[in-house]
């Protein structure tokens, strides 16, 4: 399948600061998450795809066109920014009609698309209210709706869950999934929250300090992010030695011992090592790896089964 978006050796400098450093990836049909901490280069990458920034070197293409060359390609592109972008003195219906026209739809089509899109975003009842009085959750929905109103081929969502409470976040993630599943629109979705990306995306791109750390199917990440956490009372050295004898990958910090393993056999090894070292077990359980740890990993560790 042809890539909807592709980055080839994309680099962007702001004077001395390197925001993106030789990043290459391709995005095809589906939901792709760009994961990274603040300042990792997520927004810069999105802005280059939108044609708002020119890359210092490398090439960004969108729907087969150069991102900063042909502006007509943006008729098939949707964008939901992270920050506020809504006028306060107009109604959602009028705003969406205007935004549909801005993407090239004739006025009569724009009006009916605006009403339909607001219905899909769950704002049909409030569409004739001035947006100044909307809650944060409603504003996020309008922001998403304006990105979808012209039926784009691909939408770029910059931190769509920012500032939402847990219930609002759940609804937003549902809408994002629905956008792909029911509307057939492909999505590039940036977030600094592992949980959002894990539950919503098919594929993931991890950026750190402007570099591409990792990319691949979400499944391959979630399997690998499961670590077994073990806490024992005594015989710590003996237990670790017994595990290492069984070729189990062991790490430890002050309190606990972490055992890496994506399959069930690791539990058998832990059991046998506990028996052998006579170490009294206090606690044991799976532990989801934190996002920061994912970033600390060297890219090579993930290469098995994580190829894009």
């Amino acid at each position: 399948m042809e890539a909807l978006l592709s980055a080839e050796n994309l680099t962007k400098h702001y004077k001395d600061v390197v925001a993106l450093n030789d990043v290459s990836f391709e995005i095809s049909d589906g939901i792709t998450g760009i994961l990274g901490e603040n300042g990792a280069g997520k927004s810069t990458a999105i802005k280059i795809f939108l044609g708002l920034l020119k890359p210092s070197s490398g090439r960004a293409t969108i729907l087969g066109e150069d991102a900063s060359g042909n502006i007509i390609v943006r008729s098939r592109l949707g964008y939901m920014p992270e920050h506020d972008c809504l006028p306060t003195n107009v109604t959602a219906a009028e705003f969406l009609t205007h935004m549909a026209e801005m993407s090239g739809l004739p006025p009569s089509h724009a009006r009916s698309r605006a009403a339909d899109t607001l219905r899909h975003a769950g704002l049909f009842e409030e569409r004739y209210r001035s947006m100044g009085g909307y809650s944060t959750g409603m504003k996020q929905r309008v922001k998403l709706a304006q990105a979808l109103v012209h039926d784009p081929a691909v939408v770029l969502l910059d931190e769509p869950t920012a500032g939402l409470d847990p219930a609002g976040r759940e609804e937003m993630l549902d809408l994002v999934r629905k956008t792909h599943r029911d509307f057939g629109i492909s999505i590039l979705f940036s977030s600094h929250l592992m949980a959002d990306v894990e539950r919503t995306c098919d594929r993931i791109i991890v950026l750190q300090g402007g570099r591409l750390v990792q990319s691949g199917e979400v499944k391959s990440f979630t399997e690998e992010t499961e670590t077994v956490f073990i806490e024992i009372d005594t015989n710590r050295e003996e237990f670790i030695a017994a595990l290492e004898k069984r070729n189990v990958d062991v790490t430890q910090d002050g309190g606990g011992i972490f055992v890496e393993g994506s399959d069930e056999t690791v539990y058998d090894h832990v059991r046998d090592a506990l028996v052998e070292s006579k170490a009294p077990l206090r606690r044991m359980g799976p532990r989801r790896r934190a996002l920061t740890e994912l970033f600390e990993r060297d890219g090579d560790d993930f290469s098995a089964g994580a190829g894009s």
Binding site: H83, P87, M102, D116, H120, F124
Partner: protein, 318 residues
Amino acid sequence: MTNVRDSGAPSASGSAEGPPAEGTVFDIGYQKYEGPREGRNRARMSIYKDGIKNSLGIGRSPKAKILPWLFIGILVMVAGIMALIAGAADRFVGAGTAEAAGLPSHSDYYGIASIILFIFAAISAPELLCPDRRDGVINLYLVRPLTGSDYIIARWASFVSVILVVAWLPQFILLTGLAMGAAEPAEYFKDNWADIPKFVGAGAAVAVYTSILALVVAGFTTRRSYASAFLVGLFVITTPFTVWTAEAIGGTSGQWLSMFNLSNIPVHVNDLLFKEVSGVTSNAPAGEFDAWILISWFAVWTIVPAGILWARYRRLTP
């Protein structure tokens, strides 16, 4: 959790089942858009349309309508009063009295109205540019098939359209009033039709100058009130200041100082078109300059701010 309901028709909004729960999504099935996509021209047109609505408060809150329409009312009223006075003079004193007594007419209107028109522009222009940048809406515009230049040119076009109508309308009202006041309205038109191209030209000069100057100030702040206050202040201060200092200094320097009377710059063009001096410029030393100097000066004051405004918005997209 979002509640997804399936219903057959778009109109079936669930009214039969009582009011829907908060966050209910009515899923009537997504329709792909297969209609025309008109790209850049439609986007420009939409910015133009939106600009007209914003500057007149159409489709906005009643509060947003008060000031623009108040000033349009005042401008029309000025023309109405001028027509009434001239008409009354001709009716009660005798035909031709108004002209003989030098009562204000078409050539004088912009001299009187330019400052009111400018205050109208000072209030409306920030509505066109400031909220887009303050609320961040411009970030949504520029990721659509539209460049920064397209945006600012379409915004200016919408604003100059509004100002043109606001500048011409009172002149047509004045013309109608004067014709009605005359003993033979048809005769009046026959004798005075040449005023129409003159005030159309003068109105265009006033509109272009006023719209560009007001927008360039609005382009440099995100706060509407700052832009309006600065623009009103600019005129309220420069007008008396230049009149007073030009008179005190005199000579060529006085003449040049008088050129900085910002509200008179388009009125000098008006005077050249009508080939007579209007009330406000009759005492201005700048009026003694050659026509080409006055026209060049007007051109500088429109082209330079237009260039600054364009350069500022062009850079928003690479």
